[in-house]
Symmetry: C3
Subunit: 425 residues, 3 copies
């Protein structure tokens, strides 16, 4: 993996960072426009009021400006400095009130007094500002001008798809959320890794069809699932990508099934990498795996992050800047996902066509002729393992796991044996 | 759990302690009379000679007096001082013999020289005395008067049932043995805890029907099973209560099945308690779980004790007095059983009626409206877990175990979701 | 196990050691002649060219002499000193060449410079010499006479069977390879243990039929399987015996199934022995278990060795002499196999004929009459376990494993209960 790719991904994060995204609105559209410069996107606009399972597509939110100004007219809290200052989906406001009247609308992080928190109120009409505790502490009593120049009106929910066609209709889903404003690790890094993966797959002529979703969290995945209910059956494996760029090590959260092929593949790749990593069980809290793994779908979709949700102090604060994510970390995430793709692509069930005793590999040039040595090579061991376990019940991943051999060695052995007509798929 | 209850249970132990119980006879009847003052009992009298599976109800044994007197007429071993002095089911004796002739009939504990052992000979006609090794050592050679004023004659085997009717016919069995003479922990403490549980259930309008058995060990449970063969199919769960009052921590012995619901429920309650405890596998030695778990029945019946069978030096000796059992320990046993009952009562299988993606909890007032925070509350997590796993295959206990949440939180979440028409049973 | 038996086995190893065995030829025949003096053998001769599954029986190889002589005519490498000096299946040679021309045909162990390696080239026509690195280092440049007086011609593959008839047609297979030249642990020790086991079984009137194979490795087992394809279904259990005499502790390699009865029985015997031992998972590399456990057969055949394949520095070198194997080690291997046979023979599934509650053992004289004691004897516990678990699903081995009691105690309890008409098979 070149560091060039890491730098390209980081440049995308920096470019997307200033936009004020939410679950609807022009911030999402601008984000998809930029991603669309890298990979072709099909953008969907779903009207406000559309019923999607138990939910209704909400009104579209857009914001132009917002501030709190003191009696001198100076902005003490200014949306133009950070879009985190406004609670997402804030209703319009233009009024004057005392600091005490304002306080119920102010959100701070007393334990991280210099950081601005990230807050939203999508489904309960409300308005508010987020600010550093230290800023709040510095505000004198008195009256303040409070302005939120937003609109909350019928419009659309916007999401995009990108498909890399495969040789089979079975799909691998890669999903990332695009609804967070100026937060780099959560989730512009995920968007960048997904985009880079899509570009890399474009030239790979994959077996599976790969479907990338760039969607707002929760309502976006529910909307996609509702509009693609019949397509869901094609999804064989999936990954939600989030928090993909911080310097921490990788964490994989298993699907609800716990032993889905994606769960085993990611665990195999992470273990084989020798790098520190964590694998955690599914829980119905986190990112859109919650929806893909709801009991009506129960898809084999896990979630790959670096430091997971709420696990780093910068999480959901103004400290989650492009400086917090690194080209190296994003390149590492991408490389891991690429290895996962490689195992998914190569994992087959074969049947040994010569199952009674071992076939004579030597006469096919597949075995060293000089017997008696004790240093049998990995390639030969891999062939023996593939022959021994290829009874239709064991996948190549099963064989790699049971033998302790690298998946690539097992897959290469299977290729050689298949070429020698000793295996059929 | 009030200490009042503990003191009441201890008072019952003290009142029952002096009675000379055995597997038949008036000591059992007197015991049941006293328990019957607390909870209504149906007393069964099964005639001697009744065939109960492979066994035959034995003759009834009663005893009025017994002693060994020296040449001066002084009682050196006296039934009136402790009913443990006589081997249970001893045949009548009235004779004079030398100490050496008497020795084969004398039982001591050489390693606990000041304690009287507890011995019986129910099915092999015999007689004998139990005494402290120190007493035996002090006896001079010479002739002794040996008297056992007992009768062993056709009569009845006596046991009692108490039923707390439930909303369903499925039953929870609570069984305790009432055949031991002056031994407090084994098993007057079990009798006291069972009686207190029955009283507590009386006002609880439980789902299950609770059947309490006060029976002599082995022959009593075999008799009950033989007379209730058709009813056995109704027993869904059960506990044998024994050694319920010593100061040691709780031990649960699993049913023969090992993973019966009762096994998982007790393990969950004990683990959630944070108290030291032990869980041991089934073995076909111990109390009446041996019979309930015989292969023809294989019921989900475990055994709850504090320090188990033969695990304390006072076991089956004159040191197992009311002073050995404490109100606090019995209250703790009762409280644990009460929590087990709570989980059994509340453990259901639900089906999520909105299984495609998560339902929108916010519009039902079940979810906090302000997004972005990382400190989601237990109640909300519990709802997400219940929704995610309520596919008909997972019980609330399964959900509690998988989520690591307390059963009570999971059950409360299920109640809230059921009230919101998001679950059906 | 008498040390006499150990000494007898060691004497057999010493007698067989000088013979030059290979996968075919007169060395195998002479070996089988000698074994045949101890146990009756059926010797099979399979013609060259016979198709056996994917393989073809190769030409027969015989060798009379071989050497490398220096310009003075002195033999610097001499087959008469060690038959390991010639690469097995070497084609005939009679020529003169320089040392440099000869080098590609010379095999040494640079890291064990004083040992002669063992090498073969069965299926790729070739010739070569094996020698100590120190010998090679001492050879001056110059021309050498190189002679291998061998024949490689149509003939036969030779193997032998010995059958101990049992009361049932189900078979236990015991297989050992007879194709290695002067290597004592690999596998004359295996041959010696197998022969001693066969003699011991002769007088034992076993339940199972025991089939012993003395076969060349790989091609021998494949040939036997091909010629006995229909008989294979009778094989219930099997052991490959190899490396059976070195001073290391025992290692058992599980069958491909991993939980076949033989796997559990050997594990039970080794654990109960209290001796150090290792149990390793199946891998498709090793001895003839590779063939018996090929996916088309997947037999319950494991491999018992002391120090396993390639695990000792003497492996496949001239240091694997009769001095390397000990009478005590072979006796220990034999004793272990004998215990395995004992468990296999005794392992049954019984059904408790009195499954409702416990049967009354006392009236049948199977239970102590004096109740109240806490030191119940192993024999009585074993009866309770057998009664409790004899539901048709649990074997006596299952019961021994679950109870933690020795298999022999469980089997004795089952015998007693069977005699009392409380069990049926």
């Amino acid at each position: 993996m070149s560091t060039d790719l890491g730098r390209e991904m980081h440049a995308l994060v920096e470019r997307l960072y200033p936009l004020c995204r939410s679950i609807t609105g022009d911030g999402v559209r601008s984000t998809l426009d930029i991603v669309g410069e890298l990979i072709p996107l099909t953008v969907h606009e779903v009207p406000t009021g559309t019923q999607v399972f138990d939910w209704t597509v909400p009104r579209e939110w857009n914001i132009r400006d917002a501030y709190i100004a003191d009696s001198s007219g100076a902005r003490v809290v200014d949306f133009r400095a950070s879009n985190l200052h406004v609670v997402g989906y804030s209703t319009p406001v233009d009024t004057t009130m005392t600091l005490d009247e304002l306080r119920p609308h102010l959100h701070t992080l007393p334990e991280q007094p210099d950081l601005i928190p990230y807050r939203t109120s999508y489904y309960e009409p409300d308005w508010g500002f987020c600010l550093a505790q230290s800023t709040l502490d510095s505000l004198p009593d008195g009256r303040y001008r409070v302005v939120i120049d937003s609109t909350l009106a019928d419009g659309h929910l916007t999401y995009a798809e990108h498909v890399v066609p495969g040789r089979v209709a079975d799909e691998v889903l890669v999903s990332c959320h695009v609804c967070h404003p100026s937060l780099a690790n959560d989730n512009l890094a995920g968007v960048a890794v997904a985009s880079a993966l899509a570009r890399r797959l474009a030239g790979a002529n994959p077996r599976y069809t790969y479907r990338f979703l760039f969607i707002p969290g929760t309502i976006g995945s529910i909307t996609w699932l509702a509009r693609n209910h019949e397509r869901v059956g094609r999804i064989r494996h999936g990954l939600v990508l989030a928090c993909a760029g911080d310097p921490g090590s990788l964490t994989y959260k298993r699907s609800r099934r716990g032993d889905a092929e994606i769960d085993r593949v990611v665990a195999h790749v992470l273990a084989a990498s020798g790098r520190p990593h964590r694998i955690v069980d599914f829980s119905p809290y986190g990112y859109d795996e919650r929806q893909f793994c709801s009991p009506g779908f129960n898809l084999g979709v896990g979630c790959l992050t670096r430091t997971p949700y709420a696990g780093y102090p910068e999480y959901h604060t103004s400290a989650d800047t492009p400086d917090f994510v690194t080209p190296e970390a994003m390149a590492d995430t991408l490389e891991t996902v690429w290895e996962v793709v490689g195992v998914l692509e190569g994992n087959r069930h074969y049947v040994n066509l010569s199952p009674y005793g071992e076939p004579q590999l030597g006469k096919r040039g597949l075995y060293e002729s000089l017997g008696g040595r004790s240093d049998t090579k990995q390639a030969q061991l891999a062939m023996l393992w593939v022959l021994n376990l290829s009874d239709g019940d064991h996948s190549l991943l099963d064989i790699a796991e049971r033998s302790g051999l690298p998946f690539a060695a097992v897959a290469a052995a299977a290729d050689a044996l298949h070429d020698a007509d000793l295996l059929k798929e």
